[in-house]
Symmetry: C2
Subunit: 125 residues, 2 copies
């Protein structure tokens, strides 16, 4: 355990929602400007491996991270126009996914589901 790890983990948990490695770096640098980009990437990787964080890819090339504990698993509904993101969970879909995996004799370890669309506001314009 190092000072940096404590700080980055603390800052990561403080922020709700998604954030990129860069955004986290910025937030952490406000507290200690000497912390390097590489360290943030390294620690995010550790957090993902240990199950504390999970990666989310919402269509761009940037990986976003979000909490995986104290934060129920969920999927995303994303507006293509304004980028608004709504978290969704549907137990029926989860069950069906489990069933599909079993049909193919897979042991399910996770899934990503992003639904894209146009939100009401953007449609108004």
């Amino acid at each position: 355990m190092t000072r940096q790890r404590e700080m980055i983990l603390d800052e990561f948990l403080r922020i709700e929602g998604h954030l990129t490695a860069e955004e986290l770096t910025l937030a952490v640098k406000k507290r200690d400007s000497t912390i390097g980009q590489a360290t943030v990437y390294r620690i995010l990787k550790i957090l993902v491996d240990s199950g504390i964080a999970r990666e989310v890819r919402l269509g761009s090339n940037v990986v976003k991270y979000e909490h995986n504990i104290d934060h129920e698993h969920h999927d995303h509904l994303i507006c293509e126009r304004c980028g608004k993101t709504i978290e969704i969970v549907d137990q029926r879909i989860e069950e069906l996914q489990k069933g599909l995996a079993e049909d193919h004799k897979f042991i399910i370890t996770g899934h990503i589901m992003n639904i894209f669309g146009i939100c009401e506001e953007c449609r108004g314009r």
Copy 2:
């Protein structure tokens, strides 16, 4: 319509399954080595916009492309160990997704669903 577009489209349609921009470039260069990387990217973008191809992101940073016509929409079941990918479709899930989008007053334009797991073979080892 240009020679390059014909060639790239033809080669793209000839190949089944996913392929990256780089893989397509390689395939096309076998026929005409003067074709540039940028052109392949440009044309892939056109194909996506026009609905002929669609982007697939399977967890890495590389975007893969696959046919969208003559090739029913589907999702993916991916083995985390060996990378084996199985295409799946479940009409019940599709319906539920539509419903979720409607609940939030979104007009659905598309979705991505990837289920990760460990396949039977990998589990054997």
